[in-house]
Symmetry: none
Subunit: 191 residues, 4 copies
């Protein structure tokens, strides 16, 4: 988008991080991809970790905005959740690199990974809220909302990721969303 150096670096970093992972990505790779000198990255970002965290924050924010845009406060919890799942799957289709980064880099004991999870938790908390609302409204079974939220997030995310990494299959977001929402809302069982 932005044509300034920061934007170039940002795009290049997403590219490289998703291709190689945080540890294998080098600042040289990123600089080369962004067509800037290595020192320039350090002018705009304090460190590799700083760059990564900036990018992750933007990504999570974008995901949240993208989902929130589709949700109106007056909707009931069930609709909110279904909308969120569907929108998340669309989002991962559009921002494939971020989907890959998210599922590769969020787990682990390092500082950046903890911060990553803290941001991610903001997102899953809102899923939790929708579930809570739907339970209160009597539309959902009584169920422990935190684990439910992570089950929902995990099911949708890993299904997306699998499709993104499959060379032989296209990522058709609406079809995938139908499968996933059906399972999560109605269950696999008939009736």
């Amino acid at each position: 988008m932005r044509q300034d150096k920061t934007g170039l670096i940002f795009q290049a970093a997403i590219d490289i991080f998703s291709d190689r992972g945080f540890d294998r990505a080098t600042m040289d790779d990123i600089a080369a991809r962004a067509n800037v000198a290595k020192g320039t990255i350090y002018y705009h970002f304090k460190s590799k970790e700083d760059l990564f965290l900036f990018l992750v924050e933007e990504g999570i924010d974008l995901l949240r905005e993208s989902v929130n845009e589709q949700i109106r406060p007056e909707m009931n919890g069930k609709d909110k959740l279904e909308t969120a799942i569907r929108q998340q799957i669309r989002f991962f289709g559009e921002y494939r690199d971020f989907c890959i980064i998210l599922l590769r880099e969020a787990w682990g004991a390092e500082q950046r990974q903890k911060e990553f999870r803290k941001m991610l938790t903001q997102y899953t908390k809102s899923i939790e809220e929708y579930i809570r609302q739907a339970v209160e409204e009597g539309d959902f079974l009584q169920i422990e909302p935190e684990s439910a939220a992570w089950t929902v997030f995990g099911g949708a995310s890993i299904a997306s990721l699998h499709l993104l990494l499959s060379k032989h299959r296209e990522y058709k977001d609406e079809e995938l969303a139908n499968v996933v929402t059906t399972i999560l809302m109605q269950g696999l069982q008939a009736k």
Copy 2:
């Protein structure tokens, strides 16, 4: 278990890989943890990647055996799937390190990651089979089985992983299994 050096190295490697991830784990760390000299690791394993892949193969095999043990051929597809989910969640509670390694290291374009996913796919294929069987038996909705299998695997796995990484919550496998199987089999919706 095994008191030979290979066993010591194996245990140490699982420890260290799950703690630091493949890239951040060093052969020095592993050697120190296993109480052997660094060269000893290279006497038993060709390379870091070789060690990792060996460990992953054993892990996936163990997971599959652990699940298969609980499943009798005469069971219907629905019961097989429910049993598999429940058993997977138990397994991840017992082999936490492997659960973490699995979800951190399976995604990416490197050779070891591709091989990892190939092994993992053997496992998800069997989940797919249970779903297919249940669909044929009329117990499950008509649904695309591959994406369904990954949704199931992802939902159960990420829910496990979240709990394992939570400092403030205990991993109660039966409770978690109840939540997850309920969602996946009956859906979140009441009735």
Copy 3:
């Protein structure tokens, strides 16, 4: 000569390689001798082999230029050859390190050694040409020129090398050149 780091590294590498041989020479040694950090070498050269080959290429080029300078096209083959031998012996006296590297490292089945020999062959080919010309001009005996060229090169080189490695004798290039050219041109036999 050159005061940039590349020049410093180049000089240090010649020193160390000739002292210890390719395999025994370490990048640490070379860095220390050049008064640069080890990483600096890798900034300028892709690898130890790359550095070695660069140095060898420069050496062979210098040898060829040094010889060619003394040879005018209108000279007859006999004079060309005699001039070449004499000049090679002078050159080895001036660039002792290169003489040692040449005779230690050119033989073997590894890639760098094959490339080394390919470069060296360019040089011996020109010796071969002088012999061919002298044969055509009737000044030389009918003789197989390729083996003759290597006999000439080997005789002059090993004689130089022996003197360079002798602690108790000085390298007097003109005296040595007299002995060697006499043998190769007139033979050992009197009359």
Copy 4:
């Protein structure tokens, strides 16, 4: 020849040293080639260097014997030298591995290389003697015998080595000996 372990190791060592050079050759390689355990080598030889020096000593002894066999004390110096050159070229054709080892490993400042050269010098000293005798007998030009001996040795050796390393040419020892002796005895010049 000898079928005991020492003999097997000896043969294997020659093979491996000539193929990879002293530094690149590993005791594992040699053990594998000899079909013995690595420890066995250390039962028969003190160290890698010890093994190497033993092998070099045998080689040089064999070369000297092989040459001496052809030389009768009553021969004049000129015939002795010509016989020696011819026989050396035959020997290198028969013991190619040793020829390669000799010219790769004799130059350098390490202990084993100095010892190697000391042994080699015993051989070149005898060449020097033949030259001295021929000069005294009036058959050879007055010439400095030490440099002359190394010129002779170097010319013959490098010509042999070049042919041994040429994939496209056969090693025809008599033809090569004719070229080399002609050059060294009569010189390249016609008349």
